[in-house]
Amino acid sequence: MNDWDKELHSKLRRLPSLKAPAALLPAVMERLEARTRWAWWAWPAPARAFSLLTLAAGAGELPVAGGRLWARLPAASSSVVSRAFSALASAHNGVSTALARSLWEVLAAFAQPLLVPVLLMYLLCAAGAIIVWQLSLRPRHLRHI
């Protein structure tokens, strides 16, 4: 750096900090509160219970699927792991079947008519998102890729 550059450097370093706008702190706190409002622990109790049940049913399917897959492998069918999976699977099978059946009976009455419109809306949203991404959000030099 020459003398002028050094002088500029010291001038820049002496610049005082800018004052943050008064709206910054309330804006951050508001966004945090909004985020908390949508957090799982802030959901209504029935919604939380339903989500837990769905999660448990989904997680319960894992050992069942694992057991079935394992049993199809010929060398492993008589192994300890296979027997453990089978026991776990049969125990879970009864519970999850009953749970799924009762959930389906409750939901089917009002969910079935909505299935097609919801699926169509989902496809429309996905198509719209792809179009918006291609046209405006994707960096220009990548658009040809």
């Binding site: 002028w4 900090s17 800018l18 910054l24 804006a27 706190m29 220009r140």
Partner: protein, 169 residues
Amino acid sequence: MAADPDFEEFIRDYQDMVYTLAARLLGDRAEAQDMAQEAFLKAYERFDSIKDSPSKGGWLKTVTTNLCLNHLSRHRARWRLFSEVAEDEAGIDALAGPEKASPDSQGHADLELALAALPDHQRVPLVLFHFEDLSYEEIASQLGAPLSKVKSDIFRGRGVLRKSLEAAS
């Protein structure tokens, strides 16, 4: 949880620093406010681990710098592309900015305005070099730009600042 008084205090302590860095990197105060908000939201996610750390200010500066660079590359243009396109227009824009914005301002205000009027590809490396004490190599690595380009952008940025300040005085 959101109204954590420690976190409010943390924002009060660091908001000027974060906002100043973002404003100087972006050259735009409205965008700087948005980036400052994002930086504090990120800080909140890790507040438990950083609140007692002596390097929380440095951590916050790094987060702010990364957010601003992402913002510049995502919302304005890719760094290199912008740099190449803007190269020819740099001098004119930078000289015109401060005079239009504040013809009577002196000293610090002149320098801030001249800095804000620099094109992104000159202002960002210049801010990282002079305010954040990053070396040319670190800046080149952070921006993903060639070392020679970073050096020439900083050199040209200083030249434009010099002309701006001479014109203002």
